[in-house]
Amino acid sequence: NENFVGHQVLRISAADEAQLQKVKELEDLEHLKLDFWRDPARAGIPIDVRVPFPSVQSVKAFLEYHDISYEIMIEDVQSLLDEEKQQMAAFQARAL
């Protein structure tokens, strides 16, 4: 099972078209391995992106450099996945 320890999901708010384009530039940088949960659509609509641990710092630095605001939507993806698995296992155990 793929491991997502340290992966974070950022909710980015592009204030205008210029900032939206900046975020789209990120999308094209394949080495960052970004996974857009909600694609950049238009200014004012939240953009959600899962950022692998090795890319977290550089993505945040990029956003801050361009004064693009963001919040951390999910601090650690793996912890939510573990929670989900535990929940399923508990129900399956009960079912058995």
Binding site: N1, F4, E30, R38, A41, M73, I74, L81, F91
Partner: protein, 307 residues
């Protein structure tokens, strides 16, 4: 039995297929299971048919899980299936719908991707087909339909999450539905359910030209959304794909609409609280309940406005 089945937790592909068999066994006069094809990796693709009789009746199609990681949609599909069998005698609206129409429900529209989210990568969205010449796997099954295929609003890069595939209907999971819908010929409403971002969308996605039935679709979406919101207060937006989010080419409902299926809608179900696709299982039932109210509105309108 399906009465003791747990609707408030996520299930594996095997558990969902087992649920389908249970439901058919409990309601043989109402529910049957159809295999419309096999996936790239050879898994059966099953559709539940709900019918109170008659032959070649007009029908409604509902699918969930075309993007495999959107687990709340498959879980909602299971809940819808049970709801239909529970309510079809006592809910007047549903009874009238089923007196005149059949309902087809495909709960796991991307079985290979779904199995992969359980076994290997919970974030997997696409199919699991292989692209010659690329190390990357899978095609976005919601960019692979023959409607504006390959235009802006999809990627030609096999490594992208919105890769449209080598050609329209290249994905057997898509082609199986295309063949079924084409052969059936009397599908009057087609509803494809995704998550997340709380939207009810209608065509078009690949062009900003308004759909000929835009007015009616907009009014119906408005009434469906207000029914949905009335239950738990979940706020939804509605509109055409391109106006409400972005340009998306090769999408399911652009194709179904181009086939003359007027009532073509896509849902993006809830995430009301910063969890995205990892929606807690505790929200499965509230999500399914509110979505059901919107589905009933669309199905009721369809059955009263057959064309």
């Amino acid at each position: 039995s399906t009465d003791t089945f747990n609707y408030a937790t996520y299930h594996t592909l095997d558990e969902i297929y087992e649920f389908m068999d249970l439901l058919v066994a409990e309601h043989p006069q109402l529910v049957s299971k159809i295999q419309i094809g096999n996936t790239f990796e050879g898994r059966p693709i099953h559709v539940l048919k709900f019918s109170t009789g008659g032959t070649n009746r007009p029908a409604i199609w509902i699918d969930t899980g075309i993007h495999s990681r959107e687990w709340v949609t498959q879980a909602s599909g299971i809940w819808f299936a049970k709801k239909i069998t529970k309510d079809y005698r006592q809910d007047d609206t549903l009874r009238v719908i089923l007196d005149n129409m059949d309902i087809f429900l495909e709960i796991v529209t991307n079985p290979d991707g779904f199995a992969y989210t359980h076994k290997t990568n919970r974030m997997w969205r696409k199919t699991r087909s292989r692209t010659p010449g690329s190390l990357c796997v899978g095609v976005d099954p919601n960019r692979n339909w023959d409607a504006g295929f390959g235009k802006a609003g999809a990627s030609s890069n096999p490594c992208s999450e919105t890769y449209h595939g080598k050609f329209a209907n290249s994905e057997v999971e898509v082609k199986s539905i295309v063949d079924f819908v084409t052969k059936h010929g009397k599908i009057k409403a087609f509803i494809s359910i995704h998550s997340y971002s709380q939207l009810l969308l209608y065509p078009y996605g690949y062009t900003s030209d308004p759909a000929p039935d835009k007015e009616e679709l907009d009014q119906l979406a408005k009434s469906a959304v207000s029914a949905l919101t009335s239950l738990h207060g979940t706020k939804f937006k509605y509109g055409s794909i391109i106006d409400t989010i972005y340009q998306a080419s090769g999408s399911t409902i652009d194709w179904t609409y181009s086939q003359g299926i007027k009532y073509s809608f896509t849902f993006e179900l809830r995430d009301t609280g910063l969890r995205g696709f990892l929606l807690p299982a505790s929200q499965i039932i509230p999500t399914a309940e509110e979505t059901w109210l919107a589905l009933l509105k669309i199905m009721d309108h369809t059955s009263k406005h057959l064309y």
